[in-house]
């Protein structure tokens, strides 16, 4: 696919995503999304004849963007706990900035079908490799349970899910230190995880002061 076609495809999927956010996945019409993206339609309709395919592609675009932002955040950290903190903060900022998209991510799209719920689960699981560095840092390596990375991701996801579901997505960044504790504790133990949580709170307070 050429760069311009790729760009147009992304533009269409963005429009589809907006349409899903506004109308809900069940109320989406491909034609409306096409108009929103400024296409006359027919050639793109050929690619997305099946509305489900279009919905799933738009959802994939959303999850890929969130994963990319998280990865970019991780890259800003110098050591492993800091990488996890920066990645988490980047993700929470994204979700907080678009509460309606956050609700689509966790609830209205997965509600469509078992396949849609499967996509959400895949998205959640995709974060587990980002935590692999914790195993080495813990000094316990293979002694730690095989599933510890997914367990830690699931711990964070449960807290984030409840906040979004309760309509508090905008407040997610303030919870970053507490969520960080749950992400780190299986690798570092409660004392070190608590210290990192404290450090994250101090960093956040510093940012708040700077912003003020």
């Amino acid at each position: 696919m050429s760069t311009s076609t790729q760009f147009e495809r992304e533009r269409l999927l963005d429009a589809m995503l907006e349409e899903m956010v506004v109308s809900g996945p069940e109320g989406v019409e491909v034609e409306t999304a096409l108009r929103r993206a400024g296409f006359d339609g027919e050639e793109w309709l050929a690619e997305f004849l099946d509305e489900d395919t279009c919905l799933f592609a738009a959802y994939a675009q959303l999850t890929e963007r969130l994963a990319r932002r998280t990865g970019e955040g991780c890259a800003r950290g110098e050591d492993w706990p800091q990488r996890v903190r920066c990645g988490l903060e980047a993700l929470l900022q994204e979700l907080a900035g678009r509460p309606a998209a956050a609700a689509l991510l966790i609830r209205s799209f997965p509600a469509l079908s078992p396949a849609a719920r499967g996509r959400y689960q895949e998205f959640v699981e995709s974060f587990a490799p980002l935590l692999a560095g914790g195993r080495e840092l813990s000094g316990m390596g293979a002694e730690l349970p095989v599933e510890v990375e997914l367990f830690a991701v699931g711990a964070a996801e449960a807290i984030v899910f409840e906040e979004i579901e309760a309509g508090r997505a905008a407040q997610l960044p303030a919870l970053a230190p507490a969520i960080l504790f749950s992400l780190l504790v299986p690798f570092l133990g409660p004392e070190a995880a608590s210290a990192e949580m404290q450090r994250a709170s101090e960093v956040a307070e510093g940012k708040d002061l700077e912003a003020a």
Binding site: I106, R107, P110, A111, L112, S113, P114, R117, G118, Y120, Q121, V124, E125, S138, M140, E143, L144, P145, V146, E147, V148, L150, F151, A152, V153, G154, A155, A156, E157, A158, I159, F161, E162, E165, L175, P177, A178, I179, F181, S182, V185, P186, G189, P190, E191, A193, S194, M197, Q198
Partner: protein, 229 residues
């Protein structure tokens, strides 16, 4: 609600009386609840229809309507049943002769075995009620989580001292276990759920205990699993 005996003479076509082999509950209401769980496991809640659930339970639509106002009521009844079973299984494991840590270990084992034995209901309570059904079912799901949180909260008194834990640590400890459970259910591997016991025990105890101590309990969980004791 009508009794099964009273309903029989009023039933519709003969084929509605033939029970599929996968529905064994004695009462009509229980059969409908079981059929709802099985249908949702195959098609998801949104795509499950009253007609299909009734057919699967071996009853007519009219029989369905005598038991439940609509699909949502039947769905929440199924979620409720699983929550009641989960609470009962966990409560039995909470016998006074065990330490708080052993209670968690035995309670989680009971839950995993229950979910492995009843994967349709587990999927309904763990996945559909959370993301696929209406607000009432989600409320039931969260009330189940709150019960588990209360059980886990008892660990605070015996936890490693001098550590500031956020209030959300308990939700996280349960959420980690849920992620593993959901992965197996979505992948159609419910029989593997009991094998997750050591990893789940480690993850649930990690916020409260020194890591070596949490690993020791994970080891005990492995022994419990191997011995079947």
């Amino acid at each position: 609600m009508s009794s099964q005996a009273a309903d029989l003479p009023e039933r519709g076509p003969q084929e509605t009386r033939i029970l599929p082999h996968d529905i064994v509950a004695p009462s009509e209401r229980d059969r409908l609840i079981e059929a709802m769980a099985l249908t949702c496991a195959e098609r998801g809640y949104a795509a499950s229809s009253v007609e299909e659930v009734a057919r699967r339970a071996g009853v007519s639509r009219r029989d369905f309507e005598e038991n439940f106002a609509d699909k949502a009521e039947c769905g929440t009844a199924a979620v409720n049943q699983m929550l009641a079973d989960i609470t009962a299984a966990a409560s039995i494991a909470y016998a006074p002769q065990y330490s708080e840590w052993e209670k968690i270990l035995r309670g989680v084992r009971a839950l995993l075995e229950l979910m492995a034995a009843r994967p349709s209901f587990a999927g309904l309570a763990q996945i559909e009620a959370r993301q696929g059904m209406g607000p009432e079912a989600y409320e039931l799901y969260t009330s189940g989580i709150r019960i588990l949180e209360a059980m886990l909260d008892r660990l605070q008194a015996n936890a490693l001292g001098g550590v500031a834990r956020p209030p959300s640590a308990i939700r996280g400890a349960i959420g980690g276990a849920e992620a593993l459970i959901r992965r197996e259910l979505l992948a159609g591997r419910p029989e593997r759920l009991p094998e997750l016991l050591p990893d789940i025990i480690y993850g649930m105890l990690a916020p409260y205990l020194d890591q070596q101590e949490a690993l020791r309990y994970a080891g005990l969980a492995r022994e419990l699993l191997n011995d079947g004791g």
